[in-house]
């Protein structure tokens, strides 16, 4: 019997899990995939928005700017990468400058500090590689960039250390009301919990609709992205948005906190919540639109492209709260942009609801600190030397593009909620996310996973399910 069951191990669910782990509550997380951050959290713009975009009376407007302020402390406590690089909304037509002013005023109402409208000269001085067509920009110094899966993993590991239980590869099939709460039936097991938190991302409508007559409908909205080699990672420094024009909403160009360049997303409503394919038209669209912002698109340096799905609802706002016809069932649905930026405050809002229902005691021994995997590539030589002296595996480089050592990969596997797949290793250590995209390190990472997890090499997957990398031994079919 759990006090709280959280469905979904994305950034919302993990932020909530960590927040609730501050209390004397028995909490579990149910996740259908093999790892944390396997849905929208792994594929988005990786931006911490300043918070001027949303209407002040919306949940997005209320939560974003407030959550933005928490990122410095959170990133220190949980040891994830975050940089306050600032953002610019570019305006390409003098007639649109008033719209920048509108955004600035909206930002002020939302509590965004230090918003400035810059003229062309000031913008170009700040970012010399921007297009000559820029006439002005809204500068938000509090905008930031973050590694969303690292943040979710950090939240999860910290929640785990503070007592939250995790059940992966548990797909929720049904939820039934019972006298003392809810029976959650998964494809593996049944879990009983007083309170259920629905943080199921693009599937949160399906989970809601199992218990409530107030039906939700999530429309997955595809967003495609291209990632560029680190050699062009500092082509620009700020996150560059475009003012929406009559051609539609623009796309962003941003450095990532890991040092790559990222462009995207477009926005196409689709039917299939499992369709993470990129399209020729979509990739062309983001490349064309992003080209408006910068002088020269470094297309030669693209190393990967991907699709993320936003959990869009007709409400056009987050849906957070206890469902009226299902007491103790809390929706955290429709968490599209700025969901990542708002996650810390979404978690606090949900925590308040849970505290209201269950009235738990705060834990005396809550440990807010999580230490991440040491990253060889970011260390001084002195620190590297002492780490290798403690554990020589940190002296063996496995991923040459991102300079990731065997020690980091072993740590990724053996730490709490450790990696079990190739992608799990990639998201925790960056092995395979560099310019060769795992061409060199895949064989070695696969061997390490196989020997450390004591599974056959044919059982190692890219991301769980049937995503096996090897199909058998040589000559089996000769």
């Amino acid at each position: 019997m759990y006090d709280v069951a959280i469905i979904g191990a994305g950034i919302s669910g993990m932020s909530i899990a960590r927040e609730l782990s501050k209390y004397d509550l028995k909490v579990c997380v149910l996740e259908k995939e093999v790892d944390i951050a396997m849905g929208t959290t792994k594929a988005n713009s990786a931006i911490v928005h300043a918070g001027f975009d949303a209407k002040p009376d919306s949940l997005k407007g209320m939560l974003n700017a407030a959550a933005n302020r928490l990122f410095d402390q959170l990133s220190k406590e949980l040891d994830f990468h975050f940089r306050r690089n600032g953002s610019l909304v570019l305006c390409f037509d003098k007639k649109d400058i008033e719209h920048l002013e509108f955004l600035r005023q909206q930002g002020i109402q939302n509590g965004v500090p230090n918003l400035l409208i810059l003229d062309k000269a000031a913008v170009k001085e700040m970012e010399p590689n921007l297009s000559e067509d820029v006439v002005a920009a809204l500068y938000a110094p509090t905008g930031g960039i973050v590694c969303p899966y690292e943040m979710a993993i950090g939240m999860a590991e910290n929640a785990y250390e503070n007592g939250v239980e995790f059940y992966f590869e548990n797909k929720v099939l049904d939820i039934k009301k019972s006298d003392d709460g809810y029976r959650i039936i998964t494809d593996k097991n049944t879990y009983i919990s007083k309170v259920v938190i629905n943080a199921a991302g693009v599937h949160s409508d399906e989970i809601n609709n199992l218990v409530s007559s107030n039906k939700l409908n999530i429309i997955p909205r595809r967003g495609e992205y291209c990632v560029f080699d680190k050699e062009v990672g500092s082509y620009i420094d700020k996150t560059i948005f475009q003012l929406p024009t009559k051609l539609g909403k623009g796309v962003l160009v941003t450095p990532t906190v890991d040092g790559n360049l990222l462009i995207g997303p477009n926005a196409v409503d689709i039917d299939d919540k499992d369709d993470l394919s990129t399209t020729k038209s979509g990739l062309d669209e983001i490349l064309n639109k992003a080209s408006l912002s910068i002088k020269k698109m470094p297309s030669h340096a693209i190393i990967a492209s991907f699709t993320g799905l936003r959990a869009r609802t007709e409400a056009d706002d987050f849906i957070i709260g206890e469902v009226p016809d299902a007491k103790g069932f809390i929706n955290v649905a429709g968490i599209e942009s700025p969901g990542l930026s708002s996650a810390p405050c979404i978690a606090m809002m949900v925590k308040d609801i849970v505290v209201e229902i269950l009235a738990p005691q705060e834990k005396a021994n809550f440990n807010p600190v999580r230490k991440g995997i040491p990253h060889f590539s970011e260390m001084s030589n002195e620190d590297r030397q002492s780490l290798i002296a403690q554990n020589p595996a940190y002296g063996q480089i496995v991923c040459r593009c991102e300079t990731v050592s065997e020690g980091e990969i072993l740590s990724a596997i053996h730490r709490p909620l450790g990696a079990t797949t190739l992608d799990g290793i990639k998201r925790r250590t960056r092995a395979g996310s560099g310019r060769c995209q795992s061409g060199f390190c895949m064989t070695r990472v696969l061997d390490i996973l196989s020997s450390e997890l004591e599974i056959k090499r044919t059982e190692v997957t890219k991301f769980g399910g049937e995503s096996r990398l090897l199909v058998g031994k040589n000559k089996e079919d000769v």
């Binding site: 993470l276 795992s438 064989t443 991301f463 000559k475 079919d477 000769v478």
Partner: protein
């Protein structure tokens, strides 16, 4: 900090050849640094034959070819460290490396030879749309799984790109029990050697689909198939003619990129044409005492050519260490009409003892054309070639007589001419 006369970064064929050549010139204090667990580089996974025909007049496998050089390294007592990754290098030839055995260590070298090889272009470099399922590998990764690990990455294969590794892997996968549906090539010609098309595709009835490309990748967890389509003369896919090929594996053989991350750290000037360093006749870069050879300099077709180039770099590094190299009056080498690139980029005639070979690749297939060499505006050589293809590296010889005849020449240009 340790000191060495010559440090060679990379223990593949280029690094081994350079070490042997420098040692034969009397250089004693040499160190080879290799990131893999043994010397030999990519040759270790190239278990097919055909290596050494030019150099040894024998057909060797990759590991056999490597072993000949490893034996020379051992007998000359040249020092080497495996499992050692160079993580930093500066223009003063100070390098930082790391290994399990030694931790972080620094070396001051008097000369350095860059021999880091190349990497394969990944899927992202082509931006092929579709899902990011498993079952998509570069041909070299698949080769390592099959030839080193004895494991099959798939059983029903499509290969995109007809570079040599792609062709070799078409045969290899077939021999190991997989079905290879087709090798799909964007260009109207193969990027691979003719002998590989004959021996790896034709002999096994594997179709080579020229002027085709993969337009979409389908599969949720594991690859389920790819769409392919013919391309028009601008290499744009003709989507009306798209068709689906069910497969569980897509191998990519879509080009190699010299691995010059360390070269950049050392301020070595790179050529946009080769993605390798701009070098002179001794394969010395713009940084005095830093040389480059093999696939880190430009991508070669045959390991024999890599070895020849590594001898040039090894000898020149030895000369440099003895204070005998001169860099004075320089002639530019220009890849002119019809030529994609030429190596070296510069010639110091004063260092030329006898003859000199210029390596180059043509831009497109040309039949019955002439390869001409101009010293400034004077055409000095003019040879008819039955066929020139971008997939096969060509050479032209520059003799010391030519250089002395044209002693005030500013530039040597190579051209492809109709007559």
């Amino acid at each position: 900090m340790q000191e060495f006369d010559l440090v060679i970064i990379g223990g593949g064929p280029a690094g081994l050849g350079a070490a042997v050549a420098a040692s034969e010139q009397g250089i004693k204090n040499i160190l080879i640094l290799e990131r893999e667990n043994k010397l030999g580089g990519i040759l270790n996974q190239c278990i097919h034959n055909g290596f050494g025909l030019q150099l040894f007049k024998e057909e060797l496998t990759g590991p056999e070819y490597a072993q000949r050089f490893i034996k020379m390294i051992e007998s000359k007592e040249i020092r080497y460290k495996t499992n050692t990754m160079v993580i930093d290098l500066n223009r003063d030839k100070l390098l930082t490396a790391v290994s399990k055995a030694d931790g972080i260590f620094t070396i001051q070298a008097k000369a350095i030879i860059l021999a880091m090889g190349c990497r394969e272009r990944p899927r992202g470099a082509l931006n092929i749309p579709g899902t990011r399922c498993s079952g998509i590998f570069t041909a070299g990764t698949a080769q390592k799984f099959v030839n080193i690990k004895g494991m099959m990455p798939g059983k029903n294969i499509v290969i995109l790109g007809s570079g040599d590794i792609g062709l070799i892997m078409a045969r290899r996968m077939t021999l190991e029990g997989a079905h290879v549906n087709a090798v799909v090539e964007l260009m109207p010609y193969s990027a691979g050697l003719t002998r590989n098309i004959v021996q790896c595709l034709d002999d096994y009835d594997i179709p080579l689909m020229l002027s085709h490309t993969v337009t979409n990748i389908v599969g949720k967890d594991r690859l389920e198939g790819v769409f392919i389509a013919p391309v028009d003369e601008n290499r744009k896919p003709i989507l009306e003619m798209e068709k689906f090929i069910p497969c569980d594996t897509l191998l990519l053989s879509v080009g190699l990129l010299p691995e010059n991350e360390l070269s950049k750290k050392a301020s070595v000037k790179l050529s946009p044409l080769t993605s390798g360093a701009e070098v002179d006749e001794g394969r010395e870069t713009n940084i005095d005492g830093i040389f480059a050879c093999g696939n880190v300099l430009h991508v070669h077709d045959l390991v024999d050519h890599v070895t020849e180039e590594s001898y040039i770099a090894g000898k020149a590094a030895a000369k440099f260490l003895k204070g005998l190299r001169k860099r004075s009056y320089v002639i530019d080498v220009i890849a002119s009409e019809g030529i994609r690139y030429a190596v070296p980029k510069y010639i110091n005639p004063v260092n030329i003892e006898k003859d000199l070979e210029l390596s180059f690749r043509v831009k497109d297939i040309c039949k019955d054309h002439y390869v001409s060499v101009y010293f400034d505006n004077a055409r000095v050589t003019h040879h008819k070639k039955k066929i020139l293809t971008p997939g096969e590296m060509q050479t032209v010889k520059i003799t010391s007589e030519m250089l002395s005849t044209h002693s005030h020449c500013r530039a040597i240009s190579i051209r492809v001419e109709k007559e």
